[in-house]
């Protein structure tokens, strides 16, 4: 079976599996962290500041 050597109980197999899993976890985890930060970085586009002076006339 193709997976047999990967699933046997030797240190070699354990370390090989651990190495691949660690890579996927850290790479995937970083991508998820970026996605999380993206969702929580809110843009609040403000209206343009009013450049015209509010004028009041005194009669």
């Amino acid at each position: 079976m193709k997976f047999a050597w990967l699933l046997n109980g030797t240190m070699e197999a354990h370390h090989l599996a651990a190495a691949y899993i660690v890579v996927w976890l850290i790479q995937g985890g970083y991508a998820v962290w970026i996605a999380w930060q993206w969702i929580h970085t809110r843009r609040t586009t403000p209206p343009l500041p009013s450049t015209a002076l509010k004028q009041t006339q005194d009669f």
Binding site: K2, W5, L6, M11, E12, A13, H15, L16, A18, A19, Y20, V22, V23, I26, Q27, Y30, A31, I34, Q37, W38, T41, R42, R43, T44, T45, P46, P47, L48, P49, S50, L53, K54
Partner: protein, 250 residues
Amino acid sequence: MDLPSQRARVVEFKPLGLAWFGLSLAVIVYATRQGLFVAPTEATMGNVARILYYHVPTAMLSLIFPYLNFAASLAYLYLRRRDPLKALTADAVAIASAEVTVVYASLCLLTGMLWGKVAWGIWWTWDARLTSMLLLWLLYVSYLMLRKLSATGQVHTLAAVLSVFAAVDVPIVYMSIRWWRTQHPAPVFFGGPDSGLDKSMLPAFTWNLVAWAMWGIFLLGYRYALERRRQAAEQDAALLAIEATLEIAQ
């Protein structure tokens, strides 16, 4: 003053980004299959040598991304007074590439330790390659900590200067196994007449190098877009504060 054009341009996650993400994942799956099941078993190390199909590409890429950080930091230092908006772009590239460097350097160290425990019987040794690689990791972690924890207004400039010095370690890491006798194996690529990878292993290695390079580019672009979004959010907050101040003044 035309305020909208003064704002940092937001980079949206476009269809190209999604397509690149999907393609990267597909190549990673194919490359992993190549490394785990298609490539032949190494004669002396056995199946544990398959770790190297992940370890070597991540190591190579961890020596490339620092130069992107170095170039972006130099650009920031040059542009910060001449063109602040372009300096923001350079700064976004710098932090994105620094974070990706830390990710790849971490994976290089971890996979190397997992391989080393089986091959050498030890998790770690203070030889030139491992020590210089650990130093690289520490330098870029300190760069990120400076960016995150510093309260001064000069944090971007300080980080850019640190980046210039950190990049000096990259050629030391690369050349360490050529300059000194090390526990780490001798160079396989460009190592001399007796070096080189068996042809039957080249496809697995090449596919994994391509896969993790594509993924690294995806992460870089994604993180850059996030940083630009954050810069725009900061500018929005600053404009809101100005607006509020103007209204109070009136």
